[in-house]
């Protein structure tokens, strides 16, 4: 048994739209960030890994099991925590009811052990106090944390988290980083985001997905490094740059082929990502 997730030539289309186009990737334990704009195929890829949908073609090996067979799916699901992009919430359920229900689906039959586990994961995400409130009355950030809590039930070996930080305020994002550091210790985590600072802070590996294809696999540092020597700042906008934007301190940050006298700066993960997207001719959501 290994903690690896391996994809070979995996393709998935919805009608004429090819969402994931022949992907090969091998993920080891640790936190892997899946970075890409909306519609790049992140969610489709994650749902295939999480056994929610089946691939049209190609091979998947998840924790040593084949998700295309019933028994393989069962084994994967027993070790999986999954956060969907849009988790459904029953309007009458409290946070406790919700996590309790998922815990039953995860084969926690014994009631008192299950309730202890439900309390544990809800306190991990800091929701112990409001766990009996109806989900409909919780804030968006709290609901996201309820959804994260259910993924942590049973301390799974594989966590597939689709945009876990969406809807969290900066303080909550910080707390999420902390909890992922402890809760995901030794596990294989695949999370998607379009926040490059999440990737820099959370992940030891980043996979950039653009238009259904993998454009980069490596460490966040490697991704930043790709833009080395190609990022500079100036007081006025340089038309020769691929991308340019005004930063908070008023300077204009440029990515592209620098002029000879350019004032080069140390590139960030975001710079690397933007450059990559530019090279692939994909329009990504502009830098924040």
């Amino acid at each position: 048994m290994n903690g690896n997730v391996k994809l070979e030539g995996v393709t998935k289309a919805f009608g004429s739209l090819v969402a994931v186009d022949g992907i090969d990737v091998d993920l080891a334990p640790g936190v892997t960030g899946l970075l890409g704009p909306n519609g790049a195929g992140k969610t489709t890829l994650m749902r295939m890994v999480a056994t929610v949908i089946a691939a049209d073609s190609g091979r998947l090996d998840v924790l040593g099991h084949d998700p295309s067979t019933g028994s393989g799916r069962l084994e994967i699901r027993r070790q999986l925590g999954y956060l969907p992009q849009e988790p459904g919430f029953h309007r009458n359920f409290s946070a406790f009811d919700f996590v309790d229900y998922v815990a039953i689906l995860k084969e926690w039959g014994d009631r008192s052990a299950r309730h202890d586990e439900v309390r544990r994961v809800l306190s991990v995400v800091g929701l112990e106090s409001v766990m009996h409130k109806r989900i409909g009355r919780l804030s968006g950030g709290m609901r996201r944390r309820v959804a994260i809590a259910q993924a942590l039930v049973g301390t799974p070996r594989l966590l597939v988290l689709d945009e876990p930080t969406a809807g969290l305020d900066p303080e909550q994002r910080l707390r999420f980083r902390e909890l992922l550091g402890t809760a995901a210790d030794g596990a294989t985590v695949l999370l998607s985001t379009h926040q490059t600072d999440d990737v820099a802070a959370l992940c030891n590996r980043v996979v950039v997905l653009l238009a259904g294809r993998i454009r980069f696999v490596g460490s966040p540092g490697d991704l930043a490094q790709r833009a080395d020597g190609r990022v500079w700042t100036a007081s006025t906008r340089d038309a020769r740059a691929e991308v340019a934007w005004v930063t908070g301190d008023g300077a204009v940050r440029h990515i592209g082929t620098p002029p000879a006298d350019a004032q080069l700066v140390v590139p960030t993960v975001e710079d690397g990502y933007l450059l990559l997207a530019r090279e692939a001719d994909v329009v990504v959501v502009g830098p924040s």
Binding site: S94, E128, S129, V130, M131, H132, K133, R134, R137
Partner: protein, 178 residues
């Protein structure tokens, strides 16, 4: 540091805040439990009544109308839960159930105001002049805020007896306080 009032805690509990219940429990479980022990020597029964009390507070904090002292409201639940627990252990006595949550003005009867209003030394003196039977009835109806029927159940005497004893006690106390 208790900046949060009991009334605010009850509002938070009505909103489903579990921590608020925990704080309220920490503030009130001790004295409620000791006070119940004066009415029932069986510590198991008292522990069960205290448990039922805070479960009832959890479920019906929204029914507290925001007037009066939360402690009095909690006590009103506690004494009724004690009666409930005692009755459920007595399998031959199957009456109608006691309403667990009192109206919040039950404990602020006129007599109660009078008694709490007077200097406490005087009250003690007045109570001491009553016979133990009358004193028990005053305690159950005035201090515990029970109805005649509830007091009768707690003391194990007919409701009519509670009424007549209360009338006698009132006359004697009025004389003593005058």
């Amino acid at each position: 540091m208790s900046v949060v009032t009991d009334a605010q805690l009850l509002a938070a509990i009505a909103d489903g805040d579990r921590d608020a219940l925990r704080t309220l429990h920490d503030r009130h479980a001790a004295w409620v439990s000791l006070r119940l022990r004066r009415r029932c020597a069986n510590t198991d029964v008292v522990a069960e009544a205290v448990q039922d009390t805070f479960v009832a507070v959890w479920k019906s904090a929204g029914r507290w109308d925001g007037r009066g002292e939360p402690a009095a409201w909690i006590w009103g639940i506690a004494i009724r839960r004690l009666i409930g627990v005692l009755r459920s252990r007595d399998r031959w006595n199957r009456d109608r159930p006691v309403d667990v949550v009192p109206e919040s003005d039950v404990v602020t009867t006129a007599e109660d105001q009078v008694l709490i209003g007077v200097e406490h030394g005087d009250l003690a003196g007045v109570l001491m002049q009553l016979s133990p039977e009358l004193r028990a009835v005053v305690q159950a109806t005035v201090l515990d805020g029970l109805t005649t029927r509830e007091a009768a159940r707690l003391l194990g005497i007919p409701a009519g007896t509670v009424k007549t004893r209360m009338m006698r006690a009132r006359t004697q106390m009025r004389g003593a306080l005058a």
